[in-house]
Subunit: 145 residues, 2 copies
């Protein structure tokens, strides 16, 4: 799971962005490149430290666009702030976080195959377009302490 960050170049992200009919801007490229350097979902607060040239409002607005375009995923773990990670270049996945120390790791379990069952059980819905899935546990160091 995870690891092996392809670290593509900005041009390549430009193509990815354009293909979703989202405007390719300097900031969006910077944001996606910054995210590509992260191994785990990062909060906007932390991202501002990595993309200094980008105003915080722009971060919020750009990430919103990128999430809509499915180039980035928004993840809710502990704490009130959302975190973000690239959703291209690495396989779709989810996370597990230690409730004691906050450690986060990727996990490759997914529920996409359950979407059909979801639709069967909720006749009010016509389709499933996305899902969020996060596990919480206790990491080994915390368990043996």
């Amino acid at each position: 799971m995870s690891q092996k960050l392809p670290n593509r170049d900005a041009v390549s992200y430009g193509e990815a962005i354009r293909s979703k009919s989202v405007r390719v801007t300097k900031h969006r490229l910077l944001i996606m490149t910054a995210l590509s350097h992260e191994r785990l979902p990062i909060s906007i607060r932390d991202l501002t430290k990595k993309v200094r040239s980008c105003n915080e409002s722009t971060l919020y607005r750009s990430l919103e666009s990128l999430v809509d375009a499915q180039l980035v995923r928004r993840v809710h773990l502990d704490g009130a702030a959302a975190r973000y990670e690239l959703s291209i270049d690495r396989p779709h996945h989810h996370h597990i976080q230690c409730v004691r120390c906050g450690l986060i790791q990727d996990v490759d379990i997914c529920v996409r195959s359950k979407e059909e069952a979801v639709l069967r059980s909720t006749p009010a819905f016509a389709s499933v377009v996305d899902h969020s899935l996060e596990f919480f546990g206790i990491c080994k160091p915390c368990a043996s302490r």
Copy 2:
């Protein structure tokens, strides 16, 4: 799925709370009773309107305790604010929300059976204690509009 709110009395919630070695207070009983009247996860902002006698700080702190005690679940759907729902009196479940209109419905699909696989794929973790799972889709009215 869902529906059929047992609407138990405060005494009964008192026992549930005590059984988790959490102090039984007037506010906690009021909060759990208020939650028992909700069909869907509710934000703290909305909950303050239902539990007028309870200070907002108390709501935050009480809900934190109740979540820790697993009597309440915290749910992240659209928007920045967390929502809360009782986690007793009705079976463990998750939700699906329409990305167009915000409609929320309960879903009985779950991933508990995948926890073992999660542990196998993340050797750094000793146990899984919880998970969050939410689906997003398009409801039929929105789909045919």
